[in-house]
Subunit: 168 residues, 2 copies
């Protein structure tokens, strides 16, 4: 089951890193979809944020994050002037619309990011120092982390979450 | 805050991918440590597995997984003959000991994995087809996912989880 190694010995290439990110975002979108509308905004465990607030955090990171990486122009986290939406939507439908807009923005901005930049050190959102690749992995990891929490909320609500392995 | 791009334009290199994995494993180790002993084995929400069982899953993936990747010799998941431990420990201390042994095994095996292999397609555990890099990312993502669930258990138990951003 082993293919020949490609000519360029990338451990992970840029297109694969984008696919990794967008694959996770597709799964998170399905988690938002299966949440009951009321529980999305109001259900929580142990004093944690409802899944709508966790989702809002993810939205304020993804598109503003890739824009900051590409342009070097960062708003600070929570600085709405730099976000494409001024405030969190009041409905799941509104969240899903922003989610899809972020998906398109991410694809579009990614095209302009050359391979040579992934090892650059940046100050994400004006405060988090790291390489571009590690910043992107952090964004993805943060999404997996919070989505995993959403799975517990869904199980506690008696709702079957989407399959973790499906990134299509 | 930007450094010059390095000569070799890796988006992510092999050493960085290992650091990514081991950094997450350090954080998961701290989550195991802060769990109350009894809750580690018995607490759950919504019919999910206790954190000890989630941790056992991670242990049966990490060291056996890297061994399979490096050697091409896979046991199947849950096939104890291929695991370094025949059964899950009965104490947190026992889990932490296996965790540290896995950490060392991962570092040791990684040294023997050449850059040229990361884009190879393999059949992990004899059943999951994917490239080596995507298989490794899947192992890490699965750990982040289950650990995020552990954070909810801890919050429900009134225990402060370790900081998500700290991978030291």
């Amino acid at each position: 089951m082993q293919n020949a190694a490609p000519a360029k010995e990338h451990v992970i290439n840029a297109a694969q890193l984008l696919e990794h990110w967008q694959g996770h975002r597709k799964l998170t979108r399905r988690v938002i979809e299966v949440f009951p509308e009321d529980a999305f905004f109001n259900f929580s465990i142990g004093g944690m944020r409802p899944f709508s607030q966790l989702t809002w955090e993810l939205l304020t990171i993804a598109a503003p994050g890739i824009t900051g990486i590409v342009t070097g122009d960062w708003g600070s986290l929570g600085d709405n002037s730099h976000n494409y939406a001024a405030a969190a939507p009041k409905t799941k439908e509104g969240f899903l619309k922003l989610w899809d807009e972020s998906t398109a923005a991410l694809d579009e901005q990614w095209e302009t990011l050359p391979d040579s930049r992934f090892q650059e050190t940046i100050l994400a959102f004006g405060q988090y120092e790291g390489t571009i690749f590690s910043t992107i992995l952090y964004f993805v990891d943060n999404e997996i982390h919070h989505r995993g929490q959403g799975y517990v909320y869904l199980r506690a609500l008696g709702v079957e979450p989407p399959a973790f392995w499906d990134r299509s």
